[in-house]
């Protein structure tokens, strides 16, 4: 794209060399129809190619189409990129670009004081202001608090596309690329990836229009006086390798595929659509050439039941849902526990209760995973820590399911599902593997469906179609070894104990607890799941402020790591930050009788680094006084 490079080149001539920054956070905000997610993703790709570390966070309106221009319809996308490694999309954007008054109103309070705010000035009509709930034009007042830049994006875009035969509406649809062009200039990002993407997606006039306005935006940034200077962010020093961006849901889907390949079992994925889990189904459905069977069921009970059926028949059965759907799967999960078949259940947690706020995030389902089935019905529970970690967590869950012949619960959340981070693509033969028990082979001796592997207590996986292994399983209390239906008390107690012990034994495969931060500190932070980025950043911030603390982040919630109790006992205070009302804290207190204190937030939003850092400081302070 020589033209672009030329442009950047000349930018330097005109305005002097760009200023070097080590981190920047940008938020794109506009109406659902303005293509903010797309614009953000494009900027992300380009930034990744520029070699920065980055973290993104899309913030959609709820699963509803709000009237154009209203607050309810505002869609946002934030990207944080840096020359050092970072862990969150940042609490406050340094720059906000707002496509209409509603977008401005919904986001302005988050912007860093005296940060930069770019608005599409063409969109600030009386009507639009009213629809956003502004009595008067807010821009004058904002000039005091921010570096406000008013750009008539709509008209500039129209001007750029003059002469094309497209309709006015189609022309206006391109305006986000004009804005993107400005930002590419402002932060000296390469435009190739976006141009390549446009060419792969569009052709003819639409392609022409988008390319033109993208470049026009770039040129506009370069030439107008509105932007006195541009910025660069040097590549981050990151481990060598091949990288890509990945969201949590894509990582989960790919983890499912990888698990099938690694375990050499076909995969059956049964699901019923639900936000924010649907994308796992969507992604998997695109990969039939892996022999992957996706099944959109009529409801969650059918989805999980079909998956268990497939596991019975020898596939790796997987199912995914969120809050309300998870609850509906619990009865069938209880059966999977009873018949001891491998299965992975993915719970992409969302903000509840009930239908709640389907597009918002929460860690509300930990206790549901542990106790959401009647009677003693133990299931291993794993939680993913970052978008890319979803891939590894899923693979480990599948390995446990097959090695121990048990359904396994995997917890992700809406934040992980939609956030992206750069991911160093792993070498496949380096992926950790567990020894797994082979599928039972035809034998002519008498086969006992509930005989057990002495190490794991797993029963044999005896697959229909294998001569000599014909047997019957079901949800009624099973006799030890034979699996026949019996009701005597001793056997009942023994089977309850065996199932519990089997899940407890998974602990034998867990690595020792890793203590990060300042292991020798007196305060320990214990986290789990998708809050890892925020907690890590907060711990670094706290350390810089002289409040060094130790940090343990749990992937395994059931069973808990065997040495966790000993580790906890070493610390005077234990703080457990969670996006729920204190569920892990409760488990730790009950299990280890330690005074684990909670720092919780249940408002549908991820933790902010600042609030966590404060909480850490307070805990330490609290202890000193």
């Amino acid at each position: 794209m020589s033209s672009t490079e030329g442009a950047v080149g000349s930018a330097l001539d005109v305005k002097g060399s760009p200023r070097e920054l080590d981190r920047v956070a940008i938020r794109f905000a506009g109406d659902s129809g303005d293509g903010m997610q797309l614009t953000g993703t494009q900027f992300t790709e380009s930034t990744a190619l520029a070699g920065n570390d980055l973290s993104t966070f899309p913030d959609f309106p709820a699963e509803i189409r709000a009237p154009a221009g209203t607050l309810a319809g505002v869609s946002g996308f934030q990207i944080h990129f840096s020359s050092r490694d970072i862990h969150t999309p940042a609490d406050q954007p340094d720059l906000l670009i707002a496509f209409n008054p509603a977008a401005l109103k919904a986001n302005i309070d988050d912007v860093r004081p005296s940060g930069m705010v770019i608005v599409n000035s063409d969109s600030f009509s009386k009507k639009a202001l009213a629809r956003a709930g502004y009595e008067e034009n807010p821009l004058p007042a904002l000039r005091e608090r921010f570096a406000l830049v008013e750009v008539p994006i709509t008209n500039l875009n129209r001007a750029a596309l003059r002469g094309l035969s497209m309709g006015a509406r189609d022309i206006d649809r391109s305006k986000n690329f004009f804005a993107l062009g400005i930002l590419y200039w402002l932060y000296n990002r390469p435009m190739e990836s976006t141009e390549r993407w446009l060419k792969s997606k569009f052709s003819g006039e639409i392609l022409e229009a988008n390319l033109r306005t993208l470049r026009a935006g770039h040129a506009y940034g370069e030439t107008t006086e509105l932007f006195p200077i541009s910025y660069t962010v040097a590549p981050a020093k990151i481990e060598a390798g091949t990288y890509r961006n990945i969201t949590g849901n894509t990582a989960l889907a790919w983890g499912v595929i990888a698990a099938g390949v690694q375990l050499e079992r076909p995969v059956f994925f049964g699901a019923y659509p639900i936000t924010p889990a649907s994308d796992v189904l969507h992604e998997l459905a695109r990969h039939r050439h892996f022999g992957l069977k996706t099944f959109q069921a009529e409801d969650e009970m059918a989805a999980v039941s079909a998956a268990i059926g497939a596991s019975f028949a020898g596939d790796l059965g997987v199912t995914a849902s969120s809050g309300p759907g998870i609850v509906l799967k619990q009865e069938a999960l209880g059966l999977a526990v009873m018949v001891e078949l491998p299965l992975v259940l993915i719970d992409v947690q969302r903000a509840g209760p009930s239908t709640g706020s389907p597009t918002k995030t929460e860690q509300g389902d930990l206790l549901l995973a542990l106790f959401g089935r009647h009677s003693a019905s133990p299931m291993p529970v794993l939680a993913a820590a970052t978008p890319a970690d979803c891939f590894h967590t899923m693979i480990e869950a599948a390995q446990i399911a097959v090695r121990y012949m048990t359904p396994v619960f995997v917890l992700s959340d809406s934040y992980l599902a939609n956030s992206a981070e750069p991911w160093k693509i792993p070498e496949l033969d380096r992926l950790p593997r567990m020894p797994r028990q082979p599928v039972a082979q035809s034998d002519l001796g008498d086969f006992q469906p509930y005989s057990r592997n002495l190490e794991t207590l797993a029963r044999p996986w005896a697959i229909p179609g294998t001569p000599g292994l014909e047997h019957r399983i079901g949800g009624l209390t099973k006799a030890d070894v034979s699996g026949n239906v019996v009701y005597d008390p001793e056997n009942h107690a023994k089977m309850v104990q065996l199932r519990t012990e089997k899940v407890a034994r998974i602990a034998q495969d867990l690595p020792p607890v890793e203590i990060e931060g300042a292991p020798e500190a007196e305060t320990l932070i214990v986290g789990w799941g998708g809050t890892r980025g925020a907690i890590t950043a907060a711990i670094e911030a706290a350390a810089e402020a002289g409040n060094a603390v130790a940090y343990v982040h749990l992937r395994h919630l059931n069973p808990l790591p065997p040495d966790l109790g000993e580790v906890l006992s070493r610390y005077r205070n234990i703080l457990v930050p969670e996006l729920n009302s204190g569920q892990l804290a409760m488990l730790l207190r009950a299990e280890y009788l330690v005074n684990a204190r909670s720092y919780t937030k249940v408002d549908g939003q991820p933790f902010k680094v600042g609030e966590l850092a404060d909480a850490i400081a307070k805990t330490i302070g609290a202890e000193e006084t």
């Binding site: 099944f295 009970m301 079909a306 229909p464 179609g465 014909e470 047997h471």
Partner: protein, 340 residues
């Protein structure tokens, strides 16, 4: 490999059968164990899947693979099994409560997807296992534990429901009619797609003689319209001969003299495979006491099976894109190198 031919005994499991004395389920079990050897399917390739209920204990008594699942969901488990391994012969056993009360939705969707399954619905018009509450097929006014003053739910007809769901094979048979039951099982097995069979079953303990006139050989001829492909819809008790006429979508009964040619008189000729569902629907709408109850195969048509279409999509995906490569997947889309 050639193996010794199977006999009925090969299909009898080592568990003692636990139904009440006189339960219709015994006869169904015995007859299915009799037909199985004739189907020429190896035992290891047969799976019986059931929900919860008296009838649903069926799998424990069959010496094949079996899965006694949870209440109402058997068709979904069976769908997963069939999708996972289309070579298996998968039989679903359910009841009027299991299949049509809690399980109605799965029955509907499994039927319309047309998985190649046999679904046997044991209809005793009562909840047996839970000791006698009315079911969705119980007649209005039935006094049961949960309806001491009589049921006030209008019953649903399993056959109309199945046809309404787009079933490709629909039949009705009777627990005690050994020959007809076995023949119906054979037909169901031969059919490619979901074969839905309502079995009129007696529960002597909680709903005795609910199908009295049909179970009793003496009264059956007068009350059952026994269907045969290509034959006119004729029925009648001793000394009577009647036929079914269908005009403008309105069924009626015409009396026939012993020497009448039914067809000439306007009696409809049975056709399992009509293009639209209008005809089987008309048959299904024949309800007692006004009409005899159709017994036999009401509908049998060809339609793609879910598991086949799924496999086709997989095959053509592999054909177009090659077998999936994990390495390639992880590197798909935009990637970038970070140099050491």
């Amino acid at each position: 490999m050639t193996r010794p031919a199977l006999t009925r005994k090969d299909f009898v499991s080592d568990q003692d059968v636990r139904w009440c004395p006189g339960c219709g389920d015994y006869s169904v079990l015995a007859n299915i164990q009799r037909v199985m050897p004739e189907l020429g399917v190896a035992r290891e390739n047969i799976v019986f899947v059931s929900g919860i209920g008296c009838a649903s204990r069926f799998p424990y008594y069959m010496n094949t693979y079996g899965f006694h699942t949870i209440h109402g969901r058997a068709p979904s488990f069976a769908s997963g099994i069939k999708a996972s391994n289309p070579d298996l012969s998968v039989w679903v056993v359910t009841g009027d409560g299991d299949g049509l009360s809690i399980g109605g939705n799965h029955l509907l969707h499994t039927i319309r997807r047309n998985f190649d399954l046999q679904i046997l619905l044991f209809n005793n018009r009562i909840y047996g296992l839970t000791k006698g509450q009315y079911s969705p097929t119980s007649e209005v006014g039935l006094k049961t534990k949960s309806t001491p003053s009589g049921s006030i739910d209008h019953p649903v007809d399993p056959i109309s429901f199945a046809i309404g769901a787009g079933a490709t094979f629909v039949a009705r048979t009777i627990d005690v009619d050994a020959g007809h039951l076995q023949e119906t099982m054979r037909r169901a097995h031969e059919h490619k797609g979901t074969a839905f069979i309502e079995i009129l079953q007696n529960c002597p303990v909680f709903n005795d003689a609910t199908w009295g006139e049909l179970q009793d050989k003496k009264t059956r001829a007068a009350n059952a319209l026994v269907l045969a492909q290509g034959e006119p819809l004729v029925f009648g008790g001793p000394g009577e001969r009647k036929g079914i006429h269908l005009q403008g979508g309105h069924p009626s009964i015409i009396d026939l003299a012993s020497d009448d040619d039914p067809v000439a008189k306007g009696v409809v000729v049975h056709d399992e495979a009509t293009r639209t569902a209008a005809y089987p629907f008309a048959l299904a709408s024949l309800a007692r006491p006004d009409f005899p109850l159709p017994i036999g195969v009401l509908r049998a048509i060809e339609k793609d099976c879910y598991e086949d279409m799924l496999q086709e999509q997989i095959d053509s995906a592999v054909a177009q894109r090659g077998a999936g490569e994990l390495e390639a997947l992880l590197h798909s889309g935009d990637t970038w190198q970070v140099e050491p």
